[in-house]
């Protein structure tokens, strides 16, 4: 059975380092191929240079059921541009060359991975510099061959936990989850939310209690403002994941691509600042 802590895995190393720094991780998500593959590379560089600790690269899928309108539309554009899983992995390779120590994950849907052949896909990803995977539609009971294949390659398998995931199930998830636990903040799909309801904070506190600091918890879905980062971290998050809000900045109608990157840089820096200002809870240590 794989353990949540992997030696020499960039994701796990990053979280160990952040415990020492006593601050949460900023995880940013981009859709590969949106608006183009070349531009995605620039977006990733901008994000990393302005303070992202970990990057998730999304391989677009035709039927992304866990995603809201923003990521759906970005995926549709990326697929129309001819983005393929192979081209996405080439992009990962280029990012890896530029940022040798950056923790990098692939986020996509099961069919993309299984269509290429599970082991083949994992091996290629590893060669290109991927450190872990998030497959939001791969449920625990269907995941064992994937978890075994990934753990042999020392790659993290990130699983999701929801507000309605009970304690006994969460413990089973922890047995196969490595790198970090992806805590879904809300009942819903990805995409910006103006405000969180109380249940989000309660759910983070509950999950934190059950996981007992054995695995970092990263909260995602709906985060778009620094004050949300602060309140989620104060409830127990060890990391925050920003996705749709980044794409919104790229999608904004503006004729000048350079301006969008400047705008994106300012946005990521604000989130980074919130992460630097908010210590993680002491139970993590």
């Amino acid at each position: 059975m794989p353990t949540s802590e992997l030696e020499n895995n960039r994701i796990c190393c990053k979280f160990r380092q952040l415990v020492l720094e006593n601050r949460p991780a900023l995880i940013c998500y981009v859709v590969a191929g949106y608006p183009t593959l070349k531009y995605t590379e620039e977006i990733v560089s901008t994000i990393v240079e302005s303070g992202a600790d970990i990057v998730e690269i999304g391989i677009p899928f035709s039927d992304p059921i866990a995603d809201g309108p923003t990521i759906q539309q970005a995926s549709t554009v990326a697929l129309k541009n001819g983005t393929t899983p192979q081209k996405c992995l080439e992009l990962v390779g280029a990012v890896r060359e530029k940022f040798p120590r950056l923790p990098l994950l692939i986020m996509t849907y099961s069919n993309i991975v299984f269509r290429s052949g599970l082991e083949e896909f994992l091996r290629t990803s590893r060669l290109k510099g991927v450190d872990g995977f998030i497959l939001p539609d791969l449920e625990l009971t269907e995941s064992y061959s994937y978890v075994n294949a990934a753990s042999k390659l020392n790659m993290a398998t990130v699983f999701l936990a929801s507000p309605n995931t009970d304690a006994s199930r969460l413990k089973k998830i922890m047995e196969v989850c490595s790198g970090f636990l992806y805590v879904v903040s809300v009942y819903g799909t990805t995409g910006s939310r103006a405000e969180y309801e109380d249940y989000t904070f309660q759910s983070i506190r509950r999950i934190k209690e059950i996981t007992e600091g054995k695995i970092p918890i990263a909260v995602g879905f709906g985060i778009s403002r620094p004050d949300q980062v602060t309140s989620l971290v104060n409830s127990g998050a060890d990391a925050v994941i920003i996705g749709s809000a980044i794409i919104d900045r790229i999608a904004a109608r503006h004729p000048n691509d350079k301006y969008k990157l400047v705008n994106l840089r300012a946005f990521v820096e604000q989130l980074r600042e919130a992460c630097l200002q908010t210590p993680i809870s002491s139970e993590n240590l």
């Binding site: 039927d63 059921i65 866990a66 069919n111 991975v113 929801s162 009942y187 799909t189």
Partner: protein, 401 residues
């Protein structure tokens, strides 16, 4: 029998299973326990039987289509008249069953997807009768081609949401319904319309549709002491076919034939024959045959019938294909329209375009077959909803000539 069919843990051989986001897992598990608890509960079954007989008009007749038989000039053709069921299609068997279950589970809000609109209408009917709130997701392309059913759903009190993503058809309506369910999982019941989706839906929907096959089994004796030689049904997601086939699975005297929509031909890429031209994949929570490109992106499909226009198929069909228990064939748009017109003229029955695919293949089969053989065709629905499509199709054909 279930174990022999490999339904352990929602698997049919290697197909089926649950491929769903974490948020849906507790809801799916809750549904599975509720279904397991109620499916043999005498009070639940009595309620179901009451609505199926007194409200929906079961049993539906098994009708000897004498004129069609004479026209084909071979085996005897019998029609299982699901077109006469309340709502105009077999869908009502399943919607009443699931709506009763939802009510037992204390869920007041029902969501569903629809392609041709028949499942949407069936769901709206069941919800009105059982006083449940009803919201239907439908692709905008399907809303145009099945306009009359949109109006019917609204009249029946359902809210219809237009889906503008992807191919704007059934596949995308399912995506949107799943997203709604993820967002409202605590008070909402997702009433899926075919033998597709994550476990337990393929098994549960099949069970509710088995009333078709069970009735065929007893009604055939009005005509013959033997089991039918063939049962022919159309396959999109595959619920009318599964319901017709399942009670005969272990009866080797009966050959089972599923007819997929061949659209403009299997070489045209404009069809939705997932079993004949697809490959293994994961879509809508299940592992099954899907139409996809080499990278795993789901293909756009085409069929003249919106109800068959789907790039996947129920996982049990995938299994029955692999073990060779059911023979799957295809029928083009052209042959389906031809059968549609033929059945209207010869028998005074207007079939749904979906069902016309099965009628077309049965005519071919009858022509080649022996006079003493019986072919049962499941006429899954009536064709009033398709009059506009058929009229435009025939108009274009005339213009070409």
């Amino acid at each position: 029998m279930e174990a022999a069919l490999g339904t352990e843990g929602g698997k049919f051989g290697k197909y089926g299973g649950k491929f769903i986001p974490e948020t849906l897992v507790p809801a799916i598990n809750e549904l599975e326990s509720a279904y397991t608890a109620f499916k043999d509960d005498p009070v639940f079954l009595k309620d179901l039987d009451y609505y199926l007989t007194k409200f929906a008009g079961r049993p539906t007749p098994l009708y000897y289509a004498k004129n069609l038989t004479e026209y084909a000039g071979g085996s005897r053709i019998l029609l299982k008249r699901e077109d006469l069921l309340h709502g105009g299609a077999h869908k009502t068997n399943n919607t009443i069953g699931q709506a009763l279950l939802a009510k037992r589970m204390g869920k007041r809000r029902i969501i569903a997807e629809t392609g041709a609109g028949q499942h949407g209408v069936g769901t709206a009917i069941a919800c009105a009768a059982l006083k449940l709130q009803c919201e239907i997701y439908m692709g905008s392309r399907d809303m145009v081609r099945q306009k009359s059913n949109v109006f019917r759903m609204r009249l029946l009190g359902a809210k219809v949401h237009e889906v503008n993503t992807g191919s704007k058809t059934l596949k995308d309506a399912i995506n949107e319904a799943l997203r709604d369910w993820i967002s409202n999982v605590q008070d909402t019941y997702y009433l899926i319309g075919s033998v597709v989706g994550p476990h337990p839906y393929p098994t549960m929907v099949r069970d509710f549709q088995c009333v078709i096959g069970n009735e065929i089994r007893s009604q055939i004796h009005d005509y013959s002491p033997r089991s039918p030689d063939f049962i022919v049904a159309c396959v999109g997601g595959g619920s009318n076919a599964m319901g017709s086939f399942y009670p005969f699975i272990t009866d080797k005297a009966t050959s089972l034939v599923g007819v997929e929509a061949g659209g403009k031909g299997l070489n045209s890429r404009q069809h939705c024959a997932s079993l004949l031209a697809g490959s293994e994949g994961i879509l809508h929570g299940m592992q099954t045959y899907i139409l996809q490109d080499k990278y795993g992106q789901v293909s756009h499909t085409h069929s003249i019938s919106a109800g068959l226009d789907y790039p996947g198929v129920g996982p049990e069909h995938a299994y029955l294909k692999d073990i060779d228990r059911v023979k799957y064939v295809d029928c083009t748009d052209e042959l389906a329209v031809d059968a549609f017109v033929r059945l209207c003229k010869l028998e005074g029955i207007i079939p749904a375009l979906e069902s016309s695919h099965a009628v077309a293949y049965a005519m071919k089969l009858a022509k080649k077959g022996q006079k003493n053989q019986d072919i049962v065709v499941t006429l899954s629905g009536r064709g009033d909803k398709d009059l506009g499509i058929v009229s435009r199709y025939l108009q274009r054909e005339r213009e070409h000539k």
